[in-house]
């Protein structure tokens, strides 16, 4: 996308009570782009949004709009609008007055307000709800009012703070499509905050993966999924088997005592690396046809596929396949060269273990030494 940059954050650091929320972060957001800030709670994604909205000033660093420094500009003078996590609709106003709020503040004549509110209500499928009290609306309807109230002001950038978190799964899917359509129709920049990786991948032009106040990777959803930059991104987005490996030479990697042909190059000879293999990219084959072999330790039916855990040299691989295999079976694994993704070692290497457990909490619980240390 070759649109020009609308919002730029430069070397931003934010601290609360001595705790670093954003650590020297820089980010450029382009015009008409759908950008998603993705990360677990506490990663700094909401803080980033509040910086752009102007509710928060950075301890150091600057915020720019169209190249102009707006770090000290208060929220009401910024060309952005926000959709709040719990909508923040005004309870003393009905649907019409909520949506008209911004236009009234900027003294738009009433006939024009009426026209634009009517148009907005149509856009969000709420025609006829003008006089309803907002407290009598369902969650999805409140969400639509919040969208209309923000979008009617024709902001350059729309900020969305986990707007779908409170909706149930099916409604969330509908709203995802609807938001995407609204964004295309209006041609404005969306900055969307979520912790839901599926939501991020399906809606965005660009995904910004964040952790501990730092950007881990910026890229298209496909890049983020297929070419994670480090073990954190690989683990956070989807499921992945992350294995220690060594680059023999360009396009040849060794792990589990086997040399695999891969497509990556540009690493040093014998450089230790992290190897990522997605669970759906591994084929289970008869023992004699496999590149490596292991024993099936668990099989879980997931509807579309089976989730099979295979122990290879005590490392637990996760494999997703539509074919059934029995627990206890010893099988071979076959991996195509394009299924292998090589990453440089990072601070996150070895932090994400295998699939003996699925959560970190479970891992610490089963680790007797760790529990004793804590006590």
């Amino acid at each position: 996308m070759d649109h020009k940059v609308v919002v730029e954050l430069r070397d931003i650091t934010v601290e609360f009570d001595g705790e670093r929320i954003l650590d020297n972060m820089s980010l450029a957001i382009r015009d008409k782009e759908f950008v998603t800030l993705l990360g677990a709670s506490g990663c700094g994604k909401t803080t980033t949004l509040r910086l752009i909205a102007g509710f928060l000033k950075p301890n150091s660093g600057r915020v720019f709009f169209n190249g102009k420094d707006v770090t000290d500009v208060p929220p009401y003078q910024r060309p952005v609008n926000t959709i709040f996590q719990r909508y923040a609709l005004f309870p003393h106003c009905n649907v019409y007055d909520n949506i008209a709020f911004g236009l009234r503040v900027s003294k738009v004549p009433e006939p024009e307000i009426k026209e634009r509110v009517t148009e907005m209500l149509k856009l969000v499928n709420l025609s006829g709800f003008e006089k309803r009290s907002v407290s009598k609306l369902s969650g999805g309807q409140q969400q639509r009012v919040a969208i209309a109230r923000a979008v009617i002001n024709k902001p350059k950038v729309l900020l969305l703070d986990e707007p779908l978190a409170a909706l149930d799964a099916k409604l969330r899917k509908d709203m995802q499509n609807e938001l995407k359509n609204i964004q295309r129709q209006l041609g404005i920049t969306f900055v969307f905050v979520t912790h839901d990786q599926e939501e991020a991948l399906s809606m965005s032009d660009t995904v910004v993966v964040m952790n501990q106040g730092k950007i881990q990777q910026i890229g298209t959803p496909i890049d983020i999924y297929n070419e994670p930059e480090n073990a954190f991104v690989a683990d956070f987005i989807g499921e992945s088997n992350i294995i220690d490996g060594v680059m023999r030479k360009d396009k040849l990697v060794n792990f589990d005592n086997h040399d695999f042909v891969c497509l990556d190059s540009g690493f040093g000879i014998n450089e230790p690396v992290d190897v990522v293999i997605r669970p759906e990219d591994v084929d289970i084959v008869p023992l004699d046809q496999g590149m490596i072999s292991g024993t099936i330790t668990s099989v879980t039916f997931k509807g579309v596929h089976f989730e099979i855990i295979i122990s290879v040299n005590d490392f637990k691989w996760m494999i997703q396949t539509t074919d059934y295999h029995a627990e206890g079976e010893t099988v071979g694994l076959y991996i195509e060269p394009d299924a292998i993704h090589i990453m440089r070692k990072s601070e996150y290497s070895n932090m994400f273990g295998d699939y003996s457990t699925f959560s970190e909490e479970m891992e610490t619980m089963s680790d007797v030494d760790a529990i004793e240390e804590e006590e």
Binding site: A53, P74, Y76, F101, G102, S106
Partner: protein, 273 residues
């Protein structure tokens, strides 16, 4: 009657009984006295006699309206500033607001008498500085001061409560939609705190218009309010009938003003009185 509503009626019974004995029955007694003469015969004489007290009613209304306006002018900004403080400071400030109410109204009013009277605190200081002294007891100002001082917490408390309940994200939403501090006040804070203001006005206006102690002590016998007349009819003249009719009219006045106030709050928000 369903089981559920039967149980509710049972739970409500003690309160209903209490309200019946101590609210409804006395009201009927007041009505009875108001519309009878000293022999117990039905009569409009007391109601007609009220014409003589029109001036007292007028003064009472003016005084209590002024006192209510002043408490609102002090209480509203005070409550607003309070919500801007850190939570701990808010609690401390609220404690200080409530603290005088732990003391009896009579003692508080008596203290003001000591401060304002001819040889009181203010005049002692003034003459000590060689300045002319002022006679403050018996002026309308002193009586209104007494009302404002005594009833200010009743104004601050409900306004503060409604303001504190306003979700901070609403305030951010207003800023986000283009409101500067002044517009935010006008379009968000004021409309949302109306229920608190209505409660506050009611809670200050009602005791102000019916007070007699404040006007007695700080009015120096020169200023008579409706409450003083009622007290005198009952305590001094033993004219229960006239006293009752005065009370009855005062009650009607209060009910009318409360009905008017309630229209402003649109029925939303809880009335404290």
């Amino acid at each position: 009657m369903t089981k559920r509503s039967a149980r509710q009626a049972l739970i409500n019974a003690p309160y209903m009984l209490w309200a019946g004995i101590f609210i409804v029955v006395p009201l009927f007694i007041v009505m009875y006295y108001a519309f009878t003469d000293s022999t117990g015969a039905f009569s409009f004489a007391n109601i007609l006699a009220l014409a003589d007290y029109a001036e007292v009613f007028r003064v009472s209304i003016i005084f209590s309206v002024i006192a209510t306006i002043i408490t609102l002018l002090i209480g509203y900004p005070f409550a607003y500033c309070l919500t801007k403080l850190p939570v701990r400071a808010q609690r401390m400030q609220m404690m200080l607001v409530m603290l005088p109410m732990w003391m009896n109204l009579l003692i508080r009013t008596y203290s003001w008498m000591n401060i304002l009277e001819k040889n009181g605190l203010i005049n002692t200081v003034l003459s000590g500085l060689g300045l002319p002294t002022a006679n403050m007891i018996g002026t309308p100002g002193a009586v209104i001061l007494g009302m404002v001082y005594n009833y200010l917490p009743y104004m601050i408390l409900p306004i503060y409560t409604t303001m504190a309940k306003i979700d901070p994200s609403l305030s951010e939403a207003a800023e986000d939609l283009g409101c500067n501090a002044w517009q935010k006040m006008r379009r968000l804070i004021v409309p949302m705190s109306i229920p608190g203001v209505v409660s506050g006005i009611t809670m200050v206006f009602v005791p102000s218009i019916s007070t007699f102690y404040i006007s007695q002590k700080l009015g120096g016998g020169k200023i008579l309010l409706i409450g003083d007349i009622i007290e005198r009819q009952i305590q001094v003249s033993y004219n229960y009938n006239l006293g009752a009719s005065l009370s009855f009219v005062l009650m009607v006045l209060i009910l009318i003003s409360m009905a008017i106030m309630n229209r402003f709050s649109n029925g939303e928000g809880e009335m404290v009185v």
